[in-house]
């Protein structure tokens, strides 16, 4: 990234006008795609009294003071519009989509900006496999003028590790993960060497070894994640049980994450509470649970699958950009 010397030059956008026009065209195409399929565009609040409990996500907090809350109220910028969208689904909206800015503290890098654009959609009556079909169709359609791609491939999480990292993610100990990382030429800090949590090793090997090999000349969907990485997906019984979750990759870039959505309010509450304990153990700030989401699930979430797609990364792929700055008018350091 080019760090600019000061306001004299960095008042300018970091994206070219050509890329900004491409962004606009892709947004238009997106809306045509969903309108043709009868999916309703909706909007939900960016500011909320509750926040995600996921220990790997940090919410920005701000403050409202005025009518309705004269004593003041902490409001969190959403990290994803998932919870209010599920409330709409439970209220009978049918299939919906949203294009919105989301906010994540602590995330800046070649593929990350703390404020970015997410496309999120939910399909009533779909499972994650049907939603993978549709996600593939949408992305192929949006990228059609930028590159020619072979038809998408699907690998289970296990297959992707067996093929690209040479190990079975469900039958490997922390010590063996460490050896595998060394074998792949990855040197880690002393703190990481003594890491005992399998998920940390899986994330290390996924990002350093597996991901760079995914999505070469075609979309690659990874599905059937470890149950410990289910997030908001339902768990499928089996040996081992796996999460009905998928991710989409192209050119080694993670583009989308989807679930066959968990609809069980009790299970959802248990996961929230586990995450709150994990936050406390890690010294992370406590956040209020979204009781309205739990009430909506208790009322009944229709059987559905949902997916979130990083729109900026899609524009990166469509324009051949190397960094997210090249597709944002004003990234963090110029904002």
């Amino acid at each position: 990234m080019n760090t600019s010397p000061g306001p004299e030059s960095d008042w300018r956008p970091s994206a070219t006008l050509e890329v900004l026009k491409l962004r606009a065209r892709l947004l238009q195409r997106l809306r045509v795609f969903f309108s043709a399929r009868g999916v309703l565009e909706i909007e939900t609040p960016a500011l909320s009294g509750t926040a995600t409990t996921d220990p790997a996500l940090a919410s920005f907090a701000t403050h409202y003071t005025g009518p309705r809350f004269p004593q003041g109220q902490t409001l969190y910028l959403h990290t994803s519009p998932e919870f209010p969208m599920k409330r709409l689904l439970a209220a009978g909206s049918g299939s919906i989509y949203q294009i919105c800015k989301v906010f994540r503290d602590g995330e800046a890098g070649r593929q990350h900006n703390p404020e970015f654009t997410l496309l999120e959609w939910y399909r009533v009556g779909f499972d994650h496999h049907r939603l993978m079909d549709e996600t593939g169709e949408l992305v192929m359609d949006l990228l059609a003028q930028s590159m020619s791609l072979q038809s998408p491939e699907r690998l289970t999480y296990r297959e992707s590790f067996q093929r690209h990292a040479g190990l079975d993610p469900f039958a490997t100990s922390a010590d063996e993960f460490g050896q595998a990382a060394r074998m792949h030429g990855i040197s880690v800090s002393p703190e990481l060497v003594s890491e005992k949590a399998p998920d940390a090793w899986l994330d290390l090997l996924l990002t350093h070894v597996v991901e760079p090999k995914l999505g070469q000349g075609r979309l690659t969907f990874i599905y059937d994640y470890p149950a410990s990485q289910a997030a908001l997906a339902r768990i499928q019984p089996g040996n081992p049980p796996v999460a009905a979750r998928f991710e989409l990759y192209l050119n080694g870039i993670e583009l989308a994450n989807g679930f066959h959505e968990l609809a069980d309010a009790d299970e959802q509450r248990a996961r929230f509470e586990r995450q709150l304990h994990a936050r406390e153990a890690a010294g992370l700030p406590a956040v209020p649970l979204d009781e309205r989401l739990l009430a909506a699930l208790a009322h009944g979430l229709p059987d559905c699958a949902g997916v979130a797609l990083g729109f900026d990364r899609l524009v990166m792929l469509a324009s051949g950009a190397r960094t997210i700055e090249e597709v944002l008018a004003f990234p963090l350091e110029r904002a």
């Binding site: 790997a56 070649r110 990350h112 040197s187 990481l192 994330d203 990002t207 993670e254 994450n257």
Partner: protein, 187 residues
């Protein structure tokens, strides 16, 4: 003990790595869709000059290296050490062979060098980007050769050997780029 968190990592930051001072070359923020974030850095060991990769968990801290760059004037070599002086404080300092390394062949008395100090002792000695040195030995140029393609070797007063154009003669002084070892011009 000063420390840096991964949030402070950037190119040029001096840290301790495996007991040696090191300089971060590049830092990449890596995070899967859901899960643990990492800092993946390329980092150069300032003692060995080797660049390696190392991955940290986001939020980890690492010890800072007490490393500063100072400008000092080169005085003389006593056969074992290269002696330098701070032109403002007149403080003197000696650097050994490990610190000077291959740059010994560019060291000319009175030139101002950049010395990287670690815990107050010279770790790396960098000569100026451009030095002006006298040619002590070179073959006479071949008359009529104006192609300019080949050039010829010339030995300089500090012992360095560089390729120079055929018209350069013994006793002349020339400018040389110390980073590339290339002839620039007659002085």
């Amino acid at each position: 003990m000063a420390t840096y968190s991964t949030n402070e990592f950037k190119a040029g930051l001096k840290v301790m790595l495996d007991g040696d001072p090191a300089s971060i070359v590049e830092n990449e923020f890596v995070k899967p869709g859901k899960g643990q974030a990492f800092s993946r850095v390329r980092i150069r060991n300032l003692k060995t000059g080797r660049t390696i990769e190392r991955t940290f968990k986001s939020g980890e801290t690492i010890e800072a290296a007490d490393v500063v760059d100072v400008e000092m004037q080169y005085l003389y070599n006593d056969g074992q050490f290269w002696h330098f002086m701070n032109p403002e404080s007149y403080e003197q300092m000696a650097a050994d062979k490990n610190a000077v390394g291959d740059n010994a062949k560019w060291m000319k008395e009175q030139d101002v060098c950049i010395i990287t100090l670690w815990n107050g002792l010279p770790l790396i000695v960098e000569p100026p980007n451009t030095v002006t040195l006298k040619v002590t030995e070179t073959d006479p140029g071949l008359k009529g050769d104006t192609s300019g393609g080949g050039g010829k070797p010339a030995t300089l007063e500090t012992g360095a050997v560089v390729r120079v154009p055929l018209f350069v003669k013994e006793g002349e002084t020339i400018k040389v780029n110390t980073r590339t070892g290339e002839y620039l011009s007659r002085a």
